[in-house]
Symmetry: D2
Subunit: 254 residues, 4 copies
């Protein structure tokens, strides 16, 4: 064989004539009908099967992030579908490409912020003290704090804390995030809500998922939401109206 | 208000200062921790909550389609990540963009093929007779028939039939697909396996999901698989080796 | 060497320690400062260097297709940039993904339509007769005919005909397209303008460029227009206003 | 009119029934056949028409960046085309999505690095002194320095310096870059070449183009190169061989 010596290792999927293996399991015999889709997504990224409690917290995060109505990403996906209805994958991809630093990035940013704050801390942690230190030394905005619409309380936040608590999965990231919620008014002089994207990042970090991939879960969740938008765009389109509204009100600015 | 008269209707998500509504439900109170992610994806597209049986069949389909190892889409996602590691969304989008007619399109094509074959058929259906008619009149390849690797049997196919049967959801699309499996040798003169992508399309069509969006479920499933590849690419990269293998063996062809 | 036997041929670019070769030329010595960008794009796709006349027609096409104001693709690119300003490539890609069948596809569709009409025709062609036959036998809309805004005359059309004429490059595709403009009222009972995207497709086909890649030139042209939009979005943003206009006028539709 | 009050300003394109205006010009009468495509791209981004000398430098940059053979982005585009040949825009977009920090980002990074080094410097500049200061205080790698293949000299670098010199456009960014080439061995203890992507960034910055959009020109250039790859993939495909090479050498790694 000409190219032996080449090796491309993977611990995800392989197949031969009679079997498809995924994550070391027999896909057809062991996984289909036996693991949920969220559970499999967790397993694929983390490389280990989650417990039922971990799956519940994880799926609650995905549900929380799936759709926020007419976000820029949902509008972009619908406009792309209007332009190129033959390529559903293109419309979905266009929507996901908005999943960057500003709108979908908070989940990752918050998880990373908390992770870095906790790095090097050992022994029993006084979360309020650590939170105070973290808020005082923050140079920019603290990720996960504040929301343009939910100015007092983001309704997702207490619910996700509660679910994590129920499942025994309220770990250091969620605890530190909660403490930031308690102490930041002392430093900032105003009270901001802990937002839903941020608490999701904290919860994912407590699940032990890799920090650099956290944005990916927001994208996976949003993929479901965008499919909902594209299905709705087929039934009850708004893309042409958005386009016409902008085009009709274009003003030439020399 | 200057722009009243404009109306952008949606039945997905909306929010105000205290509540986030999704699909007519209170996201925090009614959905988080209470519905699974696959269940929500179905609901978002179909506009109705699936039953537990429907959810099980649907998640089995997503699990079946999530990853097939080093497909062209997985390799493209990894190479994009190698080139632009700062943009996880770009690598994921690049992978999904391969979800077109050839590799991921079979699910949609098969669902549509069966749907069109069943359109206009009424009364009790003799599936073998209908299948024979359909196979005889097919102009090109029959979607869902044959597989480059699983030449005799695609192991996903009998399992998905069985799950649908268990849940009382083996409807006309799956029955017709099964009948095509039985009768096509009479017409084609050779026996081909019913492939996994095809049976997934038949099962999704039997779930009443919109035919034009079927490809979207393959994309959603693949989004999870691609995240697995990108997480693995971080831990144990192969992208640079793929690039070097190609570049080192480039031959200038005048 | 482990993987000899592998060969990946290309006639585009290769490089070694001292030289970069592109299209059989020395990139630094023969191309930089000596060929224009449009000329190079033509050469890359066609595999041969265009004449000055071909370059002029080709660049006129790219100029004609570069921007049409606030198209759905331009709006999608701007919304993606709003959401993910850290990834210019993502915003550009999102805009290009709208380059499908409906908005940017006319160039390719028209080129292909004319190409197929001319296939098999030999000897001296009576263009009006052929056009009449083609218009009568067309099953759907004739690509390149009609425009939502330029209801009488698309101003690009006569100019591109004139440029092609000046350069001696008005070939069978442009002639047949022109004839369709003359004869279609007899068949359709109304007079529609030959649109700019269509005439561009005819001109590209007359340049001998591969029909299956024609859409690519519309995409290349649009890439420049989208960069203009993204640069303007930085200076004078409208993305947030578009988003707010849609979001503020969202109506929950149960 | 219901939505007056809405205003979406643009200085790019607008059209009415009889005219298409772009950049304040009549597209058909003033631009088509009269401006080159590179010239228009510059104008679209900079908001002013370039001089012939500026156009020559600019097009030399685009030509230099158009293609580098089987890069990860070219391979990703070809694999995407293999998977979804019905969507040329998807394959092009997938290729461009690799235009991030690592492979295509050097142009932008180098332009920005030089721009920041020059900010606040006034009066006559001693470029060697400034370069020395800049190299000494650099925390990470200096963008534009070094190349994996052209270990001694990147052949594009002297040619672009020469073209800029010829056109009277060798400004402070190119001069500082050149000085970095002279002085860095004193600090780093080894001599690295000034690479082509870096000199392109310096030249674009000297043209007064917006620093935050520099990556965009690398993307535009690469769009032409990727179209070349996709046209070649149609004529003489390698995508399936790349896929098979990887898949055949996949090793399950538990």
């Amino acid at each position: 064989m000409a190219d032996d010596g080449l090796r491309f290792p993977t611990s995800l999927g392989t197949s031969d004539e009679t079997q498809i293996r995924l994550l070391g399991q027999d896909l057809a015999a062991d996984l289909m009908g036996k693991v949920g889709f969220g559970e499999l997504a967790y397993w694929l990224v983390a490389g280990r099967r989650p417990t039922p409690g971990e799956t519940r917290v994880f799926e609650a995060v995905l549900v929380a992030l799936a759709d926020h109505g007419f976000t820029p990403t949902a509008i972009a996906a619908r406009l792309t579908y209007l332009s190129a209805p033959d390529s559903l994958q293109g419309a979905l991809a266009a929507g996901l490409l908005g999943g960057g630093s500003r709108f979908l990035g908070v989940t990752e940013d918050c998880g990373r912020f908390l992770h870095e704050a906790l790095a090097g801390v050992s022994g029993e942690i006084d979360y309020d003290e650590l939170a105070l230190r973290v808020v005082k030394s923050a140079t920019g905005r603290i990720p996960g704090l504040g929301h343009p619409v939910h100015k007092k309380l983001d309704p997702r936040t207490p619910v996700l804390f509660q679910i994590a608590e129920q499942e025994g999965l309220k770990g250091p990231h969620l605890r530190l995030f909660e403490a930031i919620g308690r102490v930041h008014p002392q430093v900032l002089g105003k009270t901001l809500p802990l937002n839903g994207a941020g608490v999701c990042g904290a919860a994912l970090a407590d699940l032990g998922l890799p920090i650099d991939i956290l944005r990916g879960f927001a994208l996976l969740a949003r993929a479901a939401g965008l499919l909902g938008h594209l299905a709705e765009e087929r039934r009850n389109p708004i893309g042409m109206d958005v386009y016409m509204t902008v085009d009709r009100n274009a003003v030439y600015d020399s």
